[in-house]
Amino acid sequence: MIISVNWLKKFTHIDGTVDELATLIGARLVEIEGVEDLGAKYKDVIVAKVVESAPMEGSDHLNIAKIDDGGVRQGVERDEQGLIQVVCGAPNVRAGLLVAWLPPESIVPETFNAAEQFVLGAKPLRGVMSNGMLASARELDLYDDHDGIIEVDKDAAPGTSFAELYELNDYLLDIENKSLTHRPDAFGVIGFAREVAGIQGLPFQTPDWLNVLEATVENDGTGEAPHIKIEDPTLSDRFQAIVLSGINETAKSPIQMQTYLARSGVRPINASVDVSNYLMLLTGQPSHTYDYDKVRAVAGDDFTIRVRLAKEGEKLVLLDGKEVELDTSDIVIAAGETAIGLAGIMGGHNTIVDASTKTVLFEAATFDLYHMRSSQMRHGIFSEAVTRFTKGIPAPLSSPVVLEAVRMLQEYTGARATSPVVEDYPGVRQPITVTVSEKHINAVLGTHFSAEDIAELLGNVGFNVTFNGLEAVVTVPYWRQDIHIAEDIIEEVGRLAGFDTINLTLPRRDFTAVRPSDFDKLRSEVRRSLVRAGANEVLTYSFVHGDILKKAGQVPDNAYRVVNSISPDLQYYRQSITPSLLSHVFPNVKAGYETFALFEANKVHQKVDGATDEQVPVERDSIALVTTHAKAKGAAYYDAKRMLEYAVNSLGIVLMYRPLDGESDATYAPFEPKRSALVIDSKTQAILGIVGEYKKSVQKAFKLPEYTAGFEINPRELLASVKMVGIQYQPLSRYPGSERDVCFQVGQDVTYQDVVTPAEKTLAETGLITTLSPVDIYQPEDGTTKNITVRIGLISYEKTMTNEEVAAVVDKVIEAVTGATEGRVV
């Protein structure tokens, strides 16, 4: 919304510069997105008098005008009388006319904000010198007018600044509408000015006409007014109308008024439309005019204007000629039974006002904001009027607006009231009163306002404050329907006085320390470990395209589907993180990265997980990693496993691996069962997640390098295990230890774990400090056996072990392993 500072100044005093004003408004009323210096645009425009005008020889439309600029412009070519020659193509140029002259070297206002400004010169036109130009309304950036040059309609001496004459030495404030959704009053210049007065600590003087809330109009009674019927009081609080006759629909409004419309972003049309828009900009109250005779014709025998919901299948051709299908929640205005307008949004074509209209029905009404909002969205019509209706226009406002409209229309169009104001007003409301104590106000804000301060701040903007002891009884003006409770009053007091004037303190608190949650700590720990392991943490979207699910082998039915996304990439909630990571492998390989690992810790959602006690979907935490080498061959599985172990071993977790045996979880879907394993905490046997390589189809779909693997684990499960296990400390021994390497030859199907399990079991029974670590795994090319070499470390708490004692333990281990695996030692 654009607010003119000069317009504000007609209603309130303004201290200081425009920058100071903008800062103050920003701090106490609403964000200002920009300030435009309108005066700069018109600084060179001069009011001049056409002294003579004669058709140019050899041209069918050009005239040579001699103008008098009062001699104010320097450096222009003049004749002996001091007049300036300008060639003009407008049909209405004539001697005696006061015009707006754009002298040489001035910028045409229409192009002032364009990428390329048009700077005028003194140039011959068909061999005749023209010094600048005489401007049309369009060139002055006021409105589209093809009738010729603008005819200055105020008394002014030649040489007067055009900007000064029409109050265009102005600043325009660009207001951020969003933060005023709850303030219909501020959508009018007068309401805005009231606030500007209030935040400056000045009392606001409401114009007298706006205080007249009884709509009594002198009229000759020759126009028969319709009966008004709001069929459902929830649709409209009030609907007022009046018949005006003798209107001249081609009359123009004064240029002064037109400039105020234009600078506020509303195009002047003719006096009748301009008055309606002008009053809307001033007060926030939109209005509409119907051709009275057409309304009567549509109404037939039943001359009743009805406000009702649209009927099933009802259609209406709007003013712009488009036919709309109405929804049964659209409010329509009907004459008799027939719709003549989509309430608050656009009138109907069947009652359109045109140049031949002589009598009009003028309407000012208010409509339910929620209906307005949904109709606006449904029909995609966004006008200045409906913007205001969606904020909720207060019903009492329509009376003064009707009266002022009648006055202005009479002045500018010759219309006269021929009926009284008729209305239906089911939404009469008692004024709201709110009781709040001075103590409460100060306690919430942390301030020290006195009762008088409070009364003055509120009184400045139209609240009536009386005191009942220490309790302030605040009567809310009708235009502040947003004020209901004590807190609303507290906000007004704080805002009008300035929140920036409040003393800053800190809450009083005790010294109890707060620690990050165990889960947050664990996740940070894992994150740091993976970073140390050389992996890169990523964040990827929670929503994925259906194709990603498909590529990863996941079923869309298990994913929450987003129904209103503006992008097809955001179709489904992801069921696990792995597919998102996989989709980012190839782009990075393509960008030249050969070896890397990506990981992400985030939340995922699967429908099978059901709902919480609050009836919202269960969320799963997840940490996933993918590691790749664009050129390597072999089993990437072991790289992923190594990284996983690195990350969790420092938490005291020892992992075990179990083949996938038909377990189905969307998380496992992309993994190849033959080259993947369930990740098990060896102490609690809890399944923590999965590690492995991906299915061939998945590799192909995501264009993964052959050497790619990863894991996805549930950190909540991991936390549960960490809490159960923790770091297991074994006291150190004072004695040195011994190590022995043993190589077992076993069948090719015997796993490493098959060797380790009996060995560890045997070692555990020795009462020694023991370690068992892999040294080598060898399989001859054609062999049916493989050699697994492990290193056994032994330390006694009691003594330095002899060779014989060490050998005895190792022999026991060998016996256990060969017994369990049917292998032998080589």
Partner: protein, 338 residues
């Protein structure tokens, strides 16, 4: 009745699929063509039912083909010893070079923010990523159909769940959970942080997915002055210098009064006096929000605030494009090696 043995054809096709090494070929079988061909030769009243039968055959065969293809694909795969530390005849696997590893700049900054607030006495709770209308709007004093809801551009799921558009979606829970503590003479002091979603087009300064951090404080005597003091204190700790702040009225249905909060751009990130950074929205918790959580607004008062995290990160490093955050581009991520 037709004389076609549809069931028999189906069984025969399924058997062929199960034993085929190129199962997709079965779809070209003449039997299928014949079945489809037969539809037209039937009396019109039988065509519907028969057509459905034929279609069921096709669906069953296609499902069998997919299963068989997966089986074939898997059959070619060499199993490996999942328990071994490395593959046969290879060396122990190495981790990647530590200097290449990076934490995402956003989670790093979030850690930093959470760390300061926990030290100030605020519990940290991660925000949900899918929620309902009640927590997102209803419990926060947004009446149904209220225009203020428009500003949030929320996504919706089929079931009517909402990917939260602000971390305030946790506020009602924090208040409910803290009620007992409050009534035992304590205070509620918590932050919720996490991912939020807005249904908008993505460009250098707009994302549909971003992170917020929200704070809630309730006590017997909370004031707006305390709120502004707390926020300034946070930013002064965060930037390690004294800061000027300013506010402007803001409208959020869940606070009253509601404000927007700005700090003067700190010198440490290249700020000059008079340059302001809008940081967050804040205000005194609306009595309806307290009431909704069972807290008596005549006994207790509170304040709340919420702001974006990406902005802090972008200002800190001078990041030019919001889209980098969720791009998973190593070219971006590896700039943040520590």
């Amino acid at each position: 009745m037709s004389t076609y043995d549809v069931e028999g054809v189906k069984q025969s096709l399924l058997e062929r699929v199960a034993s085929s090494s190129s199962p997709r070929e079965v779809l070209k079988a003449t039997e299928i063509r014949e079945l489809y061909g037969a539809i037209g030769s039937l009396p019109p009243e039988e065509r519907g039912a028969f057509g459905k039968q034929v279609n069921d055959v096709k669906v069953a065969v296609e499902a069998a083909i997919e299963a068989r293809e997966a089986e074939l694909e898997s059959a070619e795969v060499e199993p490996l010893d999942i328990t071994a530390p490395w593959d046969v005849n290879t060396q122990p696997p190495h981790l990647l070079p530590t200097q290449d590893g990076t934490q995402h700049p956003l989670t790093k900054e979030l850690d930093n923010v959470v760390d300061i607030f926990t030290r100030m006495g605020f519990e940290a709770i991660e925000s949900r990523q899918i929620d309902d209308d009640h927590h997102m709007f209803g419990a926060l004093n947004f009446p149904e159909d209220h225009p203020a809801r428009d500003g949030y551009d929320t996504f919706r799921t089929e079931e009517g769940f909402i990917p939260p558009a602000h971390t305030s979606t946790m506020q009602h829970r924090i208040l409910k959970d803290g009620k007992a503590k409050l009534e035992a003479g304590g205070q509620i002091a918590a932050i919720s942080y996490g991912r939020v979603f807005r249904n908008e087009d993505v460009d250098a300064t707009h994302e549909h997915t971003f992170y917020q951090c929200e704070g809630v404080f309730v006590s017997k005597d909370a004031t707006l002055g305390q709120m502004l003091g707390t926020l300034r204190s946070f930013f002064e700790t965060y930037y390690g210098q004294a800061l000027r702040i300013k506010t402007q009225p803001g409208y959020f249905p869940f606070v009253e009064p509601g404000l927007e909060f700005a700090i003067e751009k700190p010198a440490s990130i290249g700020g000059k006096p008079g340059e302001w950074l809008e940081m967050l929205g804040c205000g005194m918790i609306h009595p309806n929000v307290l009431k909704e959580a069972g807290i008596d607004p005549t006994q207790y008062r509170g304040f709340a605030w919420g702001g974006g995290v990406e902005r802090l990160v972008m200002l800190k490093y001078g990041i030019e494009d919001l889209r980098h955050f969720e791009s998973a581009k190593l070219a971006f991520l590896r700039k943040f090696a520590s």
